[in-house]
């Protein structure tokens, strides 16, 4: 754990946090989405630094690449402008929300801080990141893996059901 590592860790962390803060404060959904992509990139870098190379890649490909694109696509589709949503801009509410979020953060940090995690021995980083994961995925977590397939099927079916125009529904409306 050299200084280089540490510097970069904090760099990406700061980037993630700043991007996240930017995201939650942007009015424009597209801007928010892009800031979120920014967070995800930063996180991908942190994943890699924590030895999860494969997940870092997946993060970029699936999350930033696919999911966020869908988001932006929907935003565009709905043609949402900056003023479509009357965001609550009262300082009091924002302050209260910040206090709550801060409180939550404080509690979470307290919980984590109390744990002597730093002293625990770290497992060695496996150079071949994929093999142990695949091994685990298809043996130990096979059932879970299969469940994800059903999950995705449900997502597809659900999206179709909700998005498709039903002639019956049209009749009912007219």
């Amino acid at each position: 754990m050299g200084t280089f590592y540490t510097v970069h860790f904090w760099l990406f962390s700061a980037m993630a946090i700043i991007a996240a803060l930017a995201m939650v404060t942007r009015r424009n959904p597209v801007a928010a989405a892009l800031w979120l992509v920014n967070v995800m990139f930063a996180l991908a870098a942190l994943y890699v630094m924590l030895g999860a190379n494969f997940l870092g890649a997946v993060q970029v490909l699936v999350y930033a690449g696919a999911i966020m694109v869908v988001f932006v696509f929907v935003v565009m589709l709905l043609n949402l402008g900056e003023n479509d949503v009357k965001e609550r801009r009262s300082m009091g509410a924002a302050l209260a929300a910040s206090i709550i979020a801060g409180l939550l953060a404080a509690e979470l940090l307290y919980v984590i801080r109390s744990q002597p995690l730093s002293s625990a021995p770290l497992l060695p980083v496996d150079e071949d990141a994929l093999a142990p994961m695949a091994n685990s995925l298809f043996t130990e977590h096979l059932v879970a893996f299969e469940v994800t397939s059903v999950l995705l099927l449900v997502a597809v079916v659900g999206a179709v059901v909700l998005a498709k125009r039903s002639q019956f529904a049209n009749e009912a409306r007219s």
Binding site: Q115, L153, V157, S166
Partner: protein, 521 residues
């Protein structure tokens, strides 16, 4: 993870037979929908097919329940114990009721397609997984499978804005709470290094981790997530809106299936995985139970829409079930199962009545719409009265509902650490509930028909009527002779990891007979 887990020894086909049948059946239904002509007849057939699938799955579960557990089931990610099969039975009961109700409802509401029954089956798969899993990962996926399907079912009625609104609220708040749940799982994983519940229990008791802050934080966040799913106060606020907006059959599905499954999983995590940390989570569970009972019942009091009222009532019932969990005893587990059965029967029945009375118009589920029902449809009104009294926990006339409450009270008071205060809160909250349940009865029996609120069409209760009849019959019969159900509930034990109990552990063993532990078949 090298926990001596033998992949080869695990016969997944056996362990997951009901779930497999359900999901494959769901795909079959989808396939049927793809090729069948669009229309009411196909919808009915798709539903009938789904009912068949559910029945087959139930048969498979029943078959498995009578088998001795296969090798490796003791530690694997899938449980093979009475609790699982009992929960499966209750859930499938709810699924069947939902499907029958939906079949007739959807024709009226023009929700014709094969996807709804398929989604119900998918959700059921998720529920079954949820109650059968002993691994946080699988539990998480089960929750998601269930929730995603139910989000869609909620928003199914595209002709109504409220349906879409309900779906959106459910989805947004649901995924928000999932974030907490997941964070909780992460911290539990961080504290114990495993996602497998029995292992987790071992680690906690071996490492004396019960007061580990990371574990505490994890449990807290897990509580938040599950409290949302079972609609415990103060995480209940989505419930009335979503219940009101969703199409009635799927409201029922949420009220029974989702609640039972989430509860079973919650109970399993707390009793099996986190059992050794009982002293740490007892207080929070106590608070949650008390708050939920009070909030649910008090808020239900002024509701005019019966669906909404039932939503609050379902919150209250979550509170009663939480009381059973706080006991951390095998009697408590049996009480949960027994209660879930009674609650499922009464709730499904009540929603069936509502779906018939409303004549397919969602708005027509207020007390004013029920006024004078006893004159226009006496049998329906009587059945509804039974369901209301059952939910109230009233003996004989309310049937099994009473024994459900009795059982929970028994578990609470007879527990190694008696929960007498909770029991008193429970009964006092029940008194409040009497007012709104009786309000429904009073509307049906003691008010004249409101001519301006006649339903657009009179729905003839065909199969739905059958569901109602079966529910009434079961409730009433088990209400005077509950022994079969009690025995069944007692058999459905959950392996409870021993650990630091609040009071003397010796008495604990008296309550939890060792032969019911699944480890020694």
């Amino acid at each position: 993870m090298n926990a001596g887990f033998e992949f080869a020894a695990l016969d997944l086909g056996t362990l997951l037979l009901p779930e497999l049948l359900l999901s494959c059946g769901a795909m079959l239904v989808l396939l049927y929908g793809a090729f069948a002509p669009e229309g009411a007849a196909s919808t009915r057939r798709a539903h009938l097919l789904a009912i068949l699938v559910a029945l087959v799955s139930a048969a498979a579960a029943a078959m498995l329940a009578n088998q001795s557990p296969p090798l490796g089931a003791a530690t694997g990610p899938l449980a093979f114990d009475g609790f699982r099969w009992a929960s499966v039975a209750v859930i499938l009961l709810g699924v069947l009721g939902t499907l029958v109700m939906a079949m007739e409802y959807n024709e009226g509401a023009a929700l014709t397609a094969a996807e709804p029954p398929a989604l119900v089956l998918f959700a059921a798969t998720g529920m079954l997984l949820l109650v059968g899993s002993r691994d946080l990962m699988l539990i998480f996926l089960g929750i998601e499978l269930m929730s995603l399907s139910v989000y869609v079912l909620t928003g199914l009625d595209r002709s109504r804005p409220s349906s879409a609104e309900a779906a959106l609220k459910y989805f947004l708040l649901g995924s928000f709470s999932t974030g907490f749940l997941l964070y909780g799982m992460a911290l539990l994983y961080g504290s114990t290094g495993t996602t497998n519940l029995p292992e987790m229990a071992t680690v906690i008791s071996d490492g004396n981790l019960a007061d580990d802050p990371l574990l505490l934080g994890g449990m807290a966040l897990l509580f938040v997530g599950f409290a949302f799913k079972v609609a415990a106060a103060p995480f209940h606020m989505w419930t009335p809106d979503v219940y009101e907006g969703a199409p009635t059959p799927y409201t029922a599905f949420m009220a029974v299936g989702v609640k039972t499954a989430a509860f079973a999983a919650f109970a399993r995590i707390l009793l099996d995985g986190l059992g050794p940390a009982y002293a740490s989570w007892h207080y929070a569970a106590w608070l949650l139970a008390a708050a939920t009972m009070v909030v649910g019942n008090v808020l239900a009091l002024v509701q005019q829409n019966v669906k909404r009222m039932l939503a609050y009532s379902s919150i209250a019932h979550a509170g009663y079930l939480l009381v059973a969990i706080t006991t951390r005893s095998s009697e408590g587990v049996a009480a949960i199962v027994f209660y879930a059965l009674a609650y499922t029967l009464a709730t499904i029945g009540a929603f069936c009545v509502l779906s018939i009375v409303s004549g397919g118009i969602e708005k027509r589920t207020t007390l004013a719409d029920l006024a004078g029902l006893s004159r226009t449809r006496p049998a329906l009104a009587t059945a509804m009265a039974v369901f209301m009294l059952s939910l109230l926990g009233f003996p004989v006339a309310g049937g099994m509902g009473f024994f459900a409450k009795w059982y929970v009270l028994r578990a609470a008071i007879g527990a190694p650490a008696p929960q007498t205060k909770l029991a008193v809160i429970l009964v006092l909250a029940s008194v409040v509930s009497a007012v709104y349940y009786l309000g429904v009865i009073a509307a049906m029996f003691m008010k004249p028909v409101d001519e301006s609120r006649k339903p657009a069409r009179v729905v003839e209760p065909r199969l739905t009527g059958g569901v109602i009849a079966v529910a009434v019959l079961l409730l009433l019969v088990l209400g005077v002779y509950p022994s079969p159900a009690v025995r069944w509930a007692r058999a459905s034990t959950l392996p409870m990891s021993p650990g630091r109990a609040i009071s003397a552990p010796a008495s604990m063993q008296a309550v939890a007979p060792t032969e019911s532990l699944i480890r020694t078949p």
